[in-house]
Amino acid sequence: MTNEEIKEYIPTLAPAATFDETGEWLNIMVTAEELKPLMSALRNGKMQMNYLFCLTCVDFKTHLTMVYHLSATTHRQSIVIKANLNREQPVIETVCDIWRTAEFLEREVFEMFGVHFTNHPDLRKLILEDDFKGYPLRKDFEDPINMIKL
Amino acid sequence: MFLKEYITDVVTGVTSLLKGMRKTGYYFTHPKEIITEQYPDNRATLLLSDRFKGEVVMPHDANNEHTCTGCTACELACPNGTIKVVTKFETSPEGKKKKAIDTLVYRLELCTMCNLCIVACPSDAIKMAPNFEHSVFDRTKLTKVLNQPGSKIREGIE
C-alpha cells in the first residue's frame, strides 16, 4: 500500500488520526483511546502488520508520546503509530495481546516513563528495583547521587 | 526391520563419538598445537600492535618540549570527563601574553580508550600508547599529569 492509500484507510479506523510524512516513514498520530482498535485492525486487517519492531516512549516535557514502529514480514512496509499521553496520568491500553513482544517492552516503558498499560497481564518492574521511586528516562528525573552532570 | 534400525542407530552413534575422540586425541598427541601464552614470562617478546589503545600519553622530545597549545579540544571531545586542561598565561620576552598549559590532567580510571581526544587534537600533542599493565594499589595513582615538569611548548606551534 502506498502512503496515500494508508492515509485513506486509517481514518476509517481512527477518525481523529493525523499524518506526518516528513520522516522516513509515515507517522500516524492517534489518540490514546483510538489506539487499541486501530492496532488490532492493523494487525488482523488487510495491512497484516505482524511485526512490532520498536515500542518506546518519548518525553517532550509537556506530554509523553508513545511510539510504535510497525512492519509486516510479508510486504515490508513500515509505519509509525504515535499517541500523546497526559504527563501527569499517562494511561494507554496494552498491545501485548496483539504482539507478544510488547509485554516486555511495555514493562520497560512502564518503569522508565511511568506509563500505565491497562489490561497488561504482568505489569511489574522489569529492570529497576521494586521500591525504586521516579521514572528515570523522563526529562525531569533527578538523582543527585548517581547522576553526574558533565 | 526394527532390529536393523536399532543396530544402525548404535553404529552411527558410536562412530560419531569416535570421530570426536579422534579429533581430541589428535590434539592430545600434538603438543605443537598448544597456543598458551605464558604471559609474564613472555613480556620481552610480547608484541602489541602499535595502534593498541592503552592509555593517553603526551610525547616529549629531547628538549623536553611538547606540542600542546592548551586549546581544550580534547577536554571537549571526551565523553567521560577524563581530561582536564589547566591553562596559564605565559609572558613571552617581547611582553606578549600567551596561553599555555599548566597541567594536562588525565584520569586513567575514567578513560574508555575511545580515541576521540586524539582525533580531536589539532596539533597531535597527545597519542595512544600500547601500555596495558595499569594496575596499581591506590586509585589516586591513576590520575596522571601528562606534561612533564618543566616542559614547554615547542617553537612554532600555534
Binding site: F53 | K19, M113
Partner: protein
Amino acid sequence: MYNQTEIIKDTSELGADGELVINMGPQHPATHGVLHLVVTLNGETIKKIEPHLGYIHRSIEKMCESLTYRQFIYVTSRMDYLSSHINNLGCALLIEKGMQIEVPDRAKYIRVILSELTRIASHELWLGAMAMDLGAFTPFFYAFREREMITDIMEDTCGARLTMNYIVPGGLMYDLHPDFQKKVKAFITQFKSKVTEYEDLVTNNIIFQSRTKGVGILSAEDAISYGCTGPVARASGVSCDIRKIYPYEVYDKVEFDEVLETAGDSFARYMVRVKEMNQSIRIIEQLIDNIPEGDFVGKTKNVLKLPKGEFYTRVETARGEFGVYIVSEGGTTPHRIKFRSPGFSNLSVLNHIAVGGMIGDLMASMGTLDLVIPDIDR
C-alpha cells in the same frame, strides 16, 4: 533487585503445590553474565521461567541524551559487546542519514569487512560457550583459537580487541593497518581448515544432536509475534536479515545467502549460526581484494547537529536486528534515543520455548538464543 527475603518469600508462595522454585543466576555458570531467571520446576520439568533483569543496567539511553553525536557512538560498544562494531555502525549510519553525510567507498567496504569479522568472532564465542553449556568443554578452546585471530586483526587495525570504536560519522577513525589484507586472508585459510573440527566435535556428535534436536521449538508465527530477529528467527524460517531486506553500505553489491532453517529448534538455531559464519567468510572474500583506494573519512562539520525530527536505522548484528531511534530537537545532543536491542526481544521468548522441557533443555534453548546480558539491560 529482589533482596534476599523477597526471594524466599516468592519461593514459598510459588512453590506451594510441590513445585520447586530455583533462582538461576545472577551468578550461575550457564547464564553468561548476570541474567537472573526464576525457574519454577516440577521435578526436572520446567513450569515457568521469569527473567529478572537490571543487574547490569547502565541506562545507556539516558546517558546518550547528554553526549554529543560524536561521543555517544562509543557507548554503544558497551551494549552488545560482541558485535560492538556493528552497533557503532548502526549509530554512525543514523547520523549520516540524518545529516546527509557522504561516506567514501573505501570506508564502506572496510566497515562491511569488519562487521563480518565481528559477526564471525561473535558466533565463534557463542559456539564455544554453547557447547560448554551442554557440557562439552573442549570446543570452547578450539573456537577461541580462531576468534583470537580476529581479535588480533581488530587490535592491529582498530586498536582494541573488543570495544573497537573505529567508526566515526562519515567514515572511519583511521586507515587500515598495512597488514590487514594479509592477516584476514590468513584467518580465512585457518578458519576453513578448522571448521570441520566443529562438525566432528559438535555438529555430528550424537549426544549434541539428541540434546538440541526438537528442543525449544519456536514457530514462525511466534517468532514474529515475539519480535525475534537474527539467527533465532531465521531458524524458524522467518526471513529477517536486514542485510538482505534493507541493504546498507555495500551489502547490495556482494553475493551471499540468507541462511534459513525451518525446524525452529535449538539445532536449527545452531546450524543457522554455523552456516552464517561461512556466509560471512564469503562476503569477506568478495570484498577483501577490492577495497577501493581513496579517503577513509568523508567531509563532516566539526560540530554535528542532527536536524529536528525522528530518525531510525537498523543493522544486522550477530544477534539480530539492532535499531537506533533518535528524536532530535535540533541540538548537539539527542533529545531521546532508543536502542532496539535484539537480545531483549529474543529473551522474551525464553519462557515460551523452554516451558515443558527439562533443565538440560533450558540450557540448550538459552544457549542457542545467544543472550548477551548488557545488550538486554542496556
